[in-house]
């Protein structure tokens, strides 16, 4: 069984990741994305040297759920801090200091605040990692011949094979017809 698992890890995945095409400017990439959406493709991804304002909307990406993760875990931090200060102050070490109550919101609020911030920060960072599927040591796009140019001056659009309308031949023709160059089917 272990052998089978190692074999699975070592065997490269088969099949097609999608069809990639290169564009030479932000505007031509944007136009290509809108044309592809109009054609009915839904599983699209773009690879660009810098973030492009409006690309998320153009691709039809849903807003990130990260904010909800952060507030949920942040409020867990609030609860943790209240429980911690209450337990320490009244159960584990009940000491009267300066005539103050064993537990009061006045002196525990800084701790409550700090733990809320700490939990929120962790949620934001690690939640972002999770949603971006990081760390990732291999990506199918490494197989694309123009991949290294993406960090320089190339704007790449991919119609992924996960798209219900995907057909490698038709996608290749379509991307060429809307002005894409270096149109290639990319292996998984």
């Amino acid at each position: 069984m272990i052998q089978a698992f190692i074999n699975k890890l070592l065997t490269p995945p088969k099949g097609s990741f999608g069809v990639a095409a290169e564009f030479n400017s932000v505007d031509s990439l944007m136009a290509a994305v809108l044309r592809s959406r109009a054609e009915g493709y839904t599983k699209l991804e773009t690879y660009t040297p810098f973030p492009i304002h409006g690309m998320d909307e153009a691709l039809g990406s849903k807003p990130s759920v990260l904010g909800y993760i952060v507030i949920a875990i942040g409020l867990c931090g609030t609860a943790t801090a209240i429980a911690l200060t209450w337990w320490v102050g009244t159960v584990a070490y009940p000491l009267v200091i300066g005539g103050k109550p064993l537990w009061a919101v006045e002196f525990t609020l800084p701790i409550i605040f700090e733990l809320t911030i700490l939990f929120s920060a962790f949620a934001a960072v690690f939640g972002m990692f999770h949603l971006n599927r990081l760390p990732q040591f291999y990506h199918a796009m490494f197989n694309y011949s123009q991949f290294t140019k993406i960090s320089d001056d190339s704007f790449v659009l991919v119609i992924e094979s996960a798209d219900p309308k995907f057909n490698a031949e038709r996608a290749t023709k379509f991307l060429s017809s809307i002005g894409g160059s270096a149109v290639e089917e990319v292996a998984k």
């Binding site: 932000v26 944007m30 304002h53 409006g54 690309m55 909307e57 807003p63 002196f107 609020l109 800084p110």
Partner: protein, 400 residues
């Protein structure tokens, strides 16, 4: 859509239509005259009540104008592009500050109704150190110095911005930043001292070093509400509809949200230190505010000034929905007034909250006067700093 903000942006007119301007001016003049008339009638009836109502109205408004100046400076210091299309309104609100010197006269003339230290034998209320600071002559001299500094800074910043309208010179951005860097420093020192003089010295025994920051934060909070409402009223009349978009409102909403949290941070810091030390000369501040109906307002403040606006504004869609943002802005202005009311009035009305018609009259008079001078600036000047090199970027601005 994504492509149209890259290519062609519809251009608004950057001038107010003169008919609109005159109409608003007339409304402002009419309400201000009515407000001052009511104030005069109230003053003849009851000096003390007028002075106190007037002080609340004055402080609620002047700290909003100071908030305006602070944020003009911050825009220059951070080289902000997003705020360029709303900056002229910030500057114009800032330019109502010099009028504060005239609006301060009723306070200077009624010192005896307001400050117990000014009464004969009042000096006996506190130890010698404060006596040399809290006396009528020095009080007025200090106020004069504050207004001198605020006037100099606001005139300078306005002059630079107006000059840029004509010359379109990028180097004027640096000139404005050079004024702003020491400006923020002087603004905080003078506004803190002003808060000590005008608010805190009502009870000459009590002290809190963070008090000035508390007042400035509250003022800046109200200032953003005011700015949002001005932009929205103009938008409703078809002015700057393409220049101040939902993206700009989103950022104004973020500031309002941030200042909600910051106010709570400052208010709680002050409260916690006083609670912990538990010294009578410090706890008296909260003691008098827990008497009678003041108790209700004291307990409500954390909820209405922090919890409710915080959770309302935390979601992204709330800041991008103009109806929610305009609701919260009106709400913020009301709560900001209540906060200032809560700072001042318990010193005089010890038994509980006693709203008086003069509170409203003074507010109308003061806000109307500030509003008139704010509006006066927009008569000839373009309502967007059209010479700013960052303007194109601001028009295309888009939140990620």
């Amino acid at each position: 859509m994504a492509h149209d903000h890259h290519l062609d942006i519809p251009i608004d007119s950057f001038r107010l239509p003169s008919a609109t301007w005159t109409h608003v001016r007339n409304v402002l003049v009419a309400t201000t005259v009515v407000g001052w008339g009511a104030c005069l009638a109230g003053y003849l009836q009851d000096h003390d009540q007028f002075s106190r109502s007037y002080l609340v109205a004055f402080l609620a408004t002047i700290f909003m104008a100071l908030g305006g100046m602070l944020f003009v400076m911050i825009q220059h210091l951070t080289n902000s592009a997003w705020s360029v299309t709303v900056r002229r309104f910030m500057e114009s609100l800032m330019m109502s500050l010099p009028v504060g010197a005239i609006l301060f006269i009723p306070i200077a003339l009624n010192v005896h109704s307001l400050y117990v230290w000014s009464l004969p034998g009042g000096v006996a209320h506190f130890s010698g150190g404060k006596a040399s600071y809290l006396n009528e002559r020095f009080f007025v001299i200090r106020a004069f110095i504050y207004f001198l500094i605020w006037t100099a800074l606001s005139w300078r910043l306005w002059a630079i911005s107006r000059k840029q309208d004509e010359t379109k010179s990028a180097s004027l951005c640096y000139s404005a930043a050079k004024v702003s860097a020491p400006g923020v420093f002087f603004l905080f020192i003078t506004a803190t001292l002003a808060a000590f003089d005008w608010n805190m010295s009502i009870n000459p025994h009590w002290y809190s070093t963070i008090y000035g920051v508390y007042c400035i934060t509250g003022g800046a909070w109200g200032f953003f509400a005011c700015l949002i409402l001005i932009c929205m009223r103009l938008r409703a009349n078809g002015i700057l509809t393409h220049s101040i978009t939902v993206e700009h409102y989103h950022d104004l909403g973020k500031w309002q949200f941030a200042l909600t949290a910051f106010w709570a941070y400052i208010a709680f810091s002050q409260y916690m230190l006083i609670w912990y030390a538990n010294m009578p000369e410090e706890t008296i501040y909260y003691k008098v505010r827990m008497e009678g109906t003041w108790r209700l307002l004291t307990l409500a403040l954390p909820l209405i000034h922090f919890i409710f606006p915080f959770f309302l504004l935390i979601a992204r869609p709330a800041k991008r929905t103009l109806s929610i943002l305009s609701f919260i802005s009106v709400y913020v202005l009301i709560v900001h007034y209540l906060d200032v009311y809560w700072m001042i009035m318990p010193n005089y009305a010890k038994s509980g909250i006693q709203f008086h018609w003069m509170d409203l009259a003074a507010l109308v008079a003061v806000v109307g006067t500030f509003g008139f001078f704010f509006w006066q600036r927009l008569k000839d000047a373009p309502i967007v700093p059209e010479g700013d090199p960052r303007l194109a970027k601001s028009l295309r601005f888009h939140n990620v």
